[in-house]
């Protein structure tokens, strides 16, 4: 059989009689992923399929049980339905409510994983076209030895070239297809098996993300694991409106790269502003720090409506689906660039650039679909330069008089408030605005997520969102910040330096602020949390829209967090790894601790490494404004590694938590690998997925969730100090669960020795050994005996 694909040739001969002799079972593969001189022994689970890691998943899920909060009581996925699944009722197919909820969570995780993997495929294909199949994967030169920790761990392969990533993506695509198939009517029916598949989808998502970021780092010359990656401008106020302005929105950077390249080729770099929203802008600044980030995805409506962008270029993911309509309403030429997001536009890919430019400039066409990045680069720049002068002359900002006039049409029916995800008191702001006081309306700006639902709810046609933005015009003008551009991976030397202190608990934790901008109380909260933990000498990581929100905050000296704290993966650092797909480097750092610090084999050895990370690496993810299915997939990937994730109040809409029961002692025993005994290790970490109601509650949770069974007494004392201090500050008392986290008197923070000793004496506390912990039966010391 001879199989030829674009990327590999495989020849297999079962049996051949030839003149020179007989050949049996010969298999030759050209183009297959090469593992070079990788001597590491292959572990038990390379390329795991749906059920390979089921046992590990069930180990986690038995401790962190799903608590479902159905967001819909019905199932409407097949024509049997709608089926009412309330309580113990079952659907026509036999599905129960828990299984249905887990099924929906799996669908969300599949959508997320598919989106990242599809994006990875785009980037790998693009990178190969740009740099060749043999282009080496290089996330950090000599500073990086473990170039692809997630891929090594999951696939058991060591990718060396861009072409190797294609094989990895083949695997991801096959798994996502199988996972999605499991959600079909009459497939999986048990909620825990659905949940196991959720974790599988999350793991695959991490592989896809890592492949995506490795490809773009290697081919586009991004910062390579550089803690001192340059700063870039952030905020609407940084945009120079006396120049033509291009806006890029989305996640797939090639069109933005082509714009930047075209400007450089034509010596126009200083004459045109390249601005962006969401992760495309993050990656554009990694390519050229002259690009500017306007803000997270919630800035789309306000920036498009401002009329500042002269051309809008969208690619894929998190783009408002009405972006073209909004652009057309303010007369901004629009270019769609992804076959996943065609926006109903005519495909002009094969048309000459001159013709497209002429049509967009004259207004004969309001938009175009161009599926060739280089052509996008040329067309976007030429159109922006052509239309800019006329657009600036006609641009009119919404005046206080217009705001007053429009606000006076408000009848205070409150339908806008009832449509607002954050229940903002819009009618009160309208009433005050009608009387000439814009401060209340302006005050809503900080917590507005920019969805625009208020306008669609208004039966009087008041442009509510625009009025809020108009009232906040001064604030918007002053949005002038900086963000450290995404550095990508973490260096091996950084891992060596912090691996010990993290595993022993002496660096109190690694906190990753990631995800979208669907905040309940504005983005300032995530900035405040990141600063709090950086000041406490945790290692703070961030990415994507969360990194932007962190940057949009200044201290008393006028410095943003990225100027206050170093970008190194060290205690007190704030590490921006990059865009969404760069989240793989955060998971990768925890995996590298097991590899570089603890010298564990990664190769196809998932359960052992996840067990290591879960029991020893005090890492917590915080997705404070998580909105998307991608965020669900990212969280799922962290869960499978045993890393807890905290979400904000809107996170309950993901409809299920994974919660431990601290009050059940029997749930918190681990195997002590030194003695072979089962040892009570306390609820550390207590949850895998939990929603916090307030920023203050989230910070207390984060400090608590950083505790691990492996903490040394010194490390545990330090972690407890932070937990207790935050708890006392925000709850006004000592936490009741202190005894659960004290294993020996040496765990007690020195400053609280007397008080805690008294508490222990009054409880039924018993001293416990500090274990060498594992949840894996096969790691038990006794079982290792010959």
């Amino acid at each position: 059989m001879l199989l030829v694909t674009e990327k590999k040739v495989s020849l297999s001969i079962k049996e051949l009689d030839a003149g020179f002799g007989r050949i049996r079972d010969l298999s030759v593969s050209i183009g297959k992923l090469s593992t070079g001189d990788w001597a590491e022994t292959k572990g038990p689970t390379p390329y795991p399929t749906l059920a390979t890691l089921r046992e590990w998943d069930h180990t986690l899920l038995s401790r962190y049980q799903p608590f479902y909060m159905p967001f819909c009581d019905l199932c409407c996925l097949c024509t049997y339905g709608k089926c009412d699944l309330t309580g113990t009722k079952k659907g026509a197919c036999g599905i129960s409510m828990p299984a249905q909820q887990a099924r929906i969570v799996l669908m969300a995780a599949c959508i997320g994983a598919a989106t990242h993997t599809s994006h990875a495929r785009e980037l790998v294909t693009y990178a190969i076209r740009r740099s060749g199949r043999d282009c080496e994967i290089d996330p950090g030169g000599n500073a990086i030895g473990v170039e692809a920790p997630v891929i090594r761990l999951v696939c058991g392969e060591k990718p060396q070239t861009l072409a190797d990533l294609e094989t990895v993506l083949d695997y991801c695509e096959s798994q996502i297809t199988a996972l999605l198939a499991a959600t079909h009517t009459g497939q999986e029916g048990n909620y825990l098996d659905f949940e196991s598949k959720v974790l599988h989808a999350g793991m695959i998502d991490q592989v896809g993300m890592e492949a995506a970021d490795l490809a773009q780092i290697s081919a586009l010359g991004y910062p390579k694991a550089d803690p001192d990656a340059p700063l870039a401008a952030l905020g609407m106020g940084t945009v120079e409106t006396d120049k033509p302005v291009i806006l890029v929105i989305g996640h797939n950077v090639p069109p933005a790269v082509a714009i930047i390249d075209y400007l450089a080729r034509e010596n126009l770099t200083d004459q045109v502003e390249v601005t962006g929203i969401c992760c495309t802008s993050v990656d554009a600044t990694r390519y050229s720090p002259r690009a500017k980030i306007v803000g997270p995805m919630s800035w789309q409506l306000r920036y498009i409506r401002s009329g500042i962008p002269d051309v809008i270029v969208v690619d894929e993911q998190c783009v408002r689906t009405d972006a073209f309509d909004e652009a057309a309403a303010v007369g901004t030429p629009f270019i769609a660039t992804s076959d996943k997001n065609c926006m109903g536009l005519a495909d002009r890919t094969r048309d000459p650039a001159d013709a497209i430019v002429a049509d967009l400039t004259s207004g004969r066409a309001k938009g175009a679909l161009i599926l060739e990045p280089e052509k996008v680069g040329e067309v976007a720049v030429r159109v922006a330069r052509a239309v800019m002068p006329a657009r600036r002359k006609s641009a009119t900002a919404i005046s206080p008089e217009i705001i007053r006039e429009k606000a006076s049409e408000c009848k205070e029916c409150r339908l806008c408030q009832r449509a607002c995800p954050n229940d903002l008191a819009i009618p009160r702001g309208m009433k005050a605005a009608a009387e000439g006081n814009l401060s209340l309306l302006s005050g809503l700006y900080d917590a507005c997520v920019g969805c625009g639902r208020c306008e669609h709810a208004c039966v009087h046609g008041i442009p509510v969102h625009s009025l809020i933005m108009g009232a906040a015009a001064e604030k918007i003008k002053n949005e002038k910040f900086v963000i450290r551009t995404g550095r990508g991976a973490i260096q091996d030397i950084e891992i060596r330096n912090v691996g010990g202190p993290i595993v022993l608990g002496e660096i109190p934790g690694v906190v990753a602020f990631v995800g979208c901008s669907n905040f309940a109380n504005g983005g300032k909260e995530i900035a405040e949390m990141s600063v709090e933990f950086a000041r406490r000498r945790y290692i703070v990581c961030t990415s994507g829209c969360a990194a932007m929100s962190i940057g949009m905050y200044r201290d008393e000296e006028g410095k943003t967090p990225f100027e206050q704290f170093p970008g190194s993966f060290a205690a007190g650092g704030i590490v921006n790894v990059g865009s969404c797909v760069a989240n793989a480097h955060i998971a990768g750092a925890t995996i590298k601790i097991a590899s570089i610090f603890a010298r564990r084999n990664l190769r196809g050895n998932y359960a052992e490494i996840a067990d290591y990370v879960h029991n020893r690496v005090g890492a917590v993810g915080v997705a404070w404004g998580a909105m998307s299915q991608k965020a669900a997939a990212i969280a799922s990937g962290f869960w499978r590694l045993g890393i807890p994730v905290v979400v904000g109040p809107h996170g309950t809409k993901y409809r299920r938590m994974l919660l431990g029961r601290a009050d059940r002692d029997e749930d918190w025993y681990v195997h002590d690998q030194r003695t072979g005994e089962n040892v009570y290790a306390g609820p550390a970490p207590e949850h895998l997925f939990v929603a916090a109601e307030t920023k203050e509650e989230a910070m207390v949770l984060v400090a608590k969730l950083c505790m691990r069974p492996n903490d040394t007494t010194r490390g545990r004392a330090m972690k407890l100090t932070h937990y207790i201090d935050l708890y006392q500050r925000h709850q006004g008392a000592l936490p009741e669960d202190i005894p659960r986290y004290i294993r020996t008197p040496a765990d007690i923070p020195v400053t609280l020795k007397g008080e805690i000793t008294r508490i222990l004496a009054q409880s039924d506390w018993k001293e416990q050994p500090v274990p060498d912990p594992t949840l894996l039966g096969r790691n038990r010391a006794k079982e290792r005996q010959p």
Binding site: K653, E693, E696, G732
Partner: protein, 184 residues
């Protein structure tokens, strides 16, 4: 405004929806009948104004008069302690929901499974989802919300009522349940 539509317009409930509390006597009866109620006070109770008081003030009167155990979510515990209430169990709201849904959980007072959860002060969507979890998975627990917005997933809820109506209802609930007036 008085409506039994969900306050957030799109948060439509399922086939099983909350009965509307039309008179404070209904709430009084529900609370009075409960053997092992818990009062879950969300963080918003510390900032929601009712006349010259906060929601938390009314809820603490209710807790004290009926000796109802309090679960403090968010970081409301500080406000409770400032008001002299020192016995709250502090839990994230979703964790409280998980425990209430467990018939084996004997509650903060360890008296037995929670048969009534009184909930107020949570962000609307968080209360919506939490109440949904209890509606489906806590058949041994009834739920009543004392917020002034309709929560379709509760067993009982006010409709969307004005602040004035809310105040009158709450005052009636905390006074008459005590068999007399109670200072807030």
């Amino acid at each position: 405004m008085s409506s039994a539509d969900p306050w957030q317009t799109a948060e439509i409930g399922g086939p099983k929806k909350a009965a509307v509390i039309t008179k404070p006597a209904m709430a009084r009866a529900v609370i009075g009948r409960a053997k092992h109620p818990v009062l879950l006070i969300g963080n918003g109770a510390g900032s929601m104004e009712i006349g010259d008081r906060k929601l938390v003030d009314y809820l603490l009167v209710l807790a004290r008069l009926h000796r109802i155990r309090v679960i403090a979510t968010g970081n409301i515990n500080r406000a409770l302690r400032e008001r002299g209430y020192m016995n709250a169990t502090v839990l994230p709201a979703v964790e409280a929901g998980q425990r209430i849904a467990d018939p084996g959980w004997t509650g903060p007072g360890e008296k037995g499974p929670c048969d009534l959860a009184i909930i107020a002060g949570l962000p609307y969507p968080m209360a919506w989802t939490l109440l949904s979890g209890l509606k489906h998975f806590a058949p041994h627990t009834k739920t009543i919300t004392l917020d002034r917005t309709y929560q379709p997933n509760a067993t009982w809820s006010f409709a969307n009522i004005s602040e004035k109506d809310w105040q009158e209802n709450l005052e009636a609930i905390v006074s008459e349940t005590a068999g007399g007036s109670a200072d807030v």
